[in-house]
Amino acid sequence: MLVYIIRRLLMLIPILLLVSFIAFFVIELPPGDWVTTYVSQLRTSGIQMSDQEAQRLTALYGFDQPTYVRYFKWISGIVTRGDFGWSFQWGKPVGEVIAERLPITLAISLMALVFSWLVAIPIGIYSATHQYSLIDYLATFIGFIGLATPGFLLAMILAWGANQFLGFSALGLYSKEFLDAPWSFAKAMNMLQHMILPLVIIGMASAGSTIRVLRGNLLDELKKQYVVTARAKGMSETRLLLKYPVRLALNPVFSTIGWLLPAIFAGEVLISIVLSVPSIGPLLLRSTLAQDMYLTGSIVLILSALTIFGSLISDIYLAWADPRIRYGGLSK
């Protein structure tokens, strides 16, 4: 097991190098570079800039150097100093830009995850044990809506509703009077209020799928012989349910923890954009559009690392949680 984990971890290094390389070059593929974005941004705002001035900027920003030279400088900065480079767009080091948005992204993603589990697991269990009951139909209906409604649409509708009926502006993280206020209890409460909508909307989507997966699996398990046997032997219904079938039915849910890591890091892009939540997802989108390559490259690199690392965790978790997988793997 340990050897397996170490081998998997070592594999990370070449994969990440390859990913960083591809990410960097793909960013360079579209026409232009960050300076052209910058120049056209200034020009559209009415600032005159001649072609010569634009060329001068290209040289000043080091874009006259070949791609591989810039790639090498960037990657060696990461490897030797943990320095992800400079974000042209934000005029700060990439590390700082990401660090600014990381807390709120993690907070929302994790809370949404917990919210979705808190909602989905009880409903899923109830749906399966009370199949075709009224509440099952209702849960199924809600589950399908959660699955089928695009989150950004829901976000728009709810944000509009909150503003129209409650007079509450759900956009951003704080109301305008708290924007530049120092931290206080009132500001924290204000922030929590603003986080409800993103939490519910992001949570809804994954709750929908979790309900469906859990219900399906549990129904399968409930029909199995060991359940019938246990029941025949007089085991209490609750204990029986939670100890065996539910544990098994939850496996597929928990095995996705690995995939969740990158999602938790990036946050939900579209919903964040609609609700103006300053998370990392919109940051990646924006930097890609502006060809702010060190920022894009770094985020892609981190996401890839988390994806690979996450699947490792999933594998380890499954092996630990499910003896069938553990022994099955060993017997080979």
Binding site: P30, Q52, D83
Partner: protein, 656 residues
Amino acid sequence: MRKVTVASLLVILALVLAACGGAPAAPPADAPAVDAPAAQAPAAPSGEMAKEAPSLAEAVAAGTLPPLEERLPKVPFVVGPGVLLSEANVPNWAPGQYGGTMNSAHSVADWSPDVFVMMNEPLLQAPDLSVQGIQGNVLESFEVSDDNTVFTFKMREGLKWSDGEPVTTEDVRFTWENIYGNEKLFPTGVPARFRTGYDPAGDPMTLDIIDDYNFTLTSSGPYGGFLRNITIEGWNGYTELINPAHVLKKWHPDFTPIEEMKADLEANNLTDEWWQLFSQQKRCQSWDVTRARCIGYPTLTPWVSVEPESPGIMVFERNPYYFKVDTEGKQLPYIDKVVSVQVEDVEMVNQRVLAGDVDFLRESTALIKVPLYKENEAKGNFRTVLTDMHVDSSMLYLNQTFNDETWRKISQDIRFRQALSHAIDRQEIIDSVYYGLAEMPMVSVGEENATYDVDAANALLDELGMTERDANGMRMVDGKPFSILLEHGAHAPDLEPVAELVSEQLKDVGIDLQVKRIDPQLWDQRNLANELQATMFWGHDQGWDSDYTGSDSFNRTARLWHLWHQTNGAEGEEPPQWVKDMYALDVARWSSVSGSDEFNGLKEDSFAWVRENLPAITIVEKVKYPMIAAANLRNVAEGGYAIASNFAGEQLWFEQ
């Protein structure tokens, strides 16, 4: 030039004092009484008005800030009715009260055009951003020699950077010699702005420093337009000529050995490319004002950027050394703080407007949203001011040097352009896309060519020999289908619908115009590579911009001719005589003193030239533009250009 005599200030002061006996904001008892600059304070009566914001008065009282008279220049810039914006546009100008936070929102990373425009301080200025009535701004005054070659400038003595350091001719000399004169920073020398006739190939002007506050710039030929060129042309600011030498010297190898910059260089993966560090991170130009990296950088702007309490917002607090006062001698700006929040999309900027979270907005508004704004005005506590857009919103450009012989022959024929102009039903576009809030292009097209007349258009096209038609009734040239590909970057919300309507309308005269939307960056690149056949973009204006001939738009009108002119004949293709006439008109206008009778005459000649040659086809003129202002925001323009109102941020105040 503006000089306010001590006497007139005192008179105003006396009147005001008489008018408001009990001023609401009396300064703390121990705060030094400050009054009109360079005048001795009369014994302060108990009801004397504060001449500075309460927060600054407190800092002065606490000894952390020098008193107001030491912070203001000897001759401050006095803002009153008709100074920043004409009285016609702000009929009810009134001196204001201190206080309040102006909230705004921006969607582009680290960049708020609204805040930038509000902050921008050019070297000289004229009301309404016009060319008429140019006067000192950051610079106190100027004189021009009779032959329009020698410009003598007087700086404001006692003017200070926002960190309290004095602004002197050393800052000018540093900019000229160590920035423009450095071959790493400016390989091709000083920018066109400082070259005779605003010509990239013209001789550079020469700088002579007279003393700490006076200097001259001399051009080799007449260049009266230089005044306009350091007023607002191309949204330039004081950093074109004045940069804080005391800070920048630390990052310039002429003053600091590169070894001392090593730590910063290495942190940016650089070895000894100090010029990259200098321009990307250390020097802040006027349009860098909203960048996070410029927090703490000395400026001359009304507010200065400060570290925000939470990420994702920009915060600007009043500059205690700002050089403008109002007619009562109160130091500007009135508003304490400007806060702009970063949102993830431009639509979300408008959402914040509707929710009442924005006190002022110009750049991200859109005409199409006016009904929505109006509906939410009461709830959001704001008002929608319909002002003028500062560009001609949509123009049809036919790249006359596009690489296709047939196309060139046809598009270079004036009759073709006239025919297209006749074939466009502008009224329909005005009614459907602009809600009737735009006018026919009488200045840049003229009544004769702007009339919707399908018969005239057909006749002109037949005359060109485009008589043959295909099965769909579309005209052909030499037996081959004739189709125009219009590629636009959707830079503004009206470009796409206007292009689509024009395409429909041109079908009636048998012209096939295909509209394609492409990525703005690709658009840029195709434009520069002469690969755009036709496009839809905005263009020069009759008002604030001084590009009356539209030569700045020649990049789109005829890329290769433009390139030829820009590179002084080294690249591109030599333009025909009518285009050379345009460049000659430009040079003549730039040689004359901006705003003079000679200049105004040449301006009319330029418009006449445009109407006669129709280099590009303007669709509409004088498009209205919505501007959002909080209901209690005062000294906001009721008319004129939205951007001019945006520019005059220091005179805005909240009525409490």
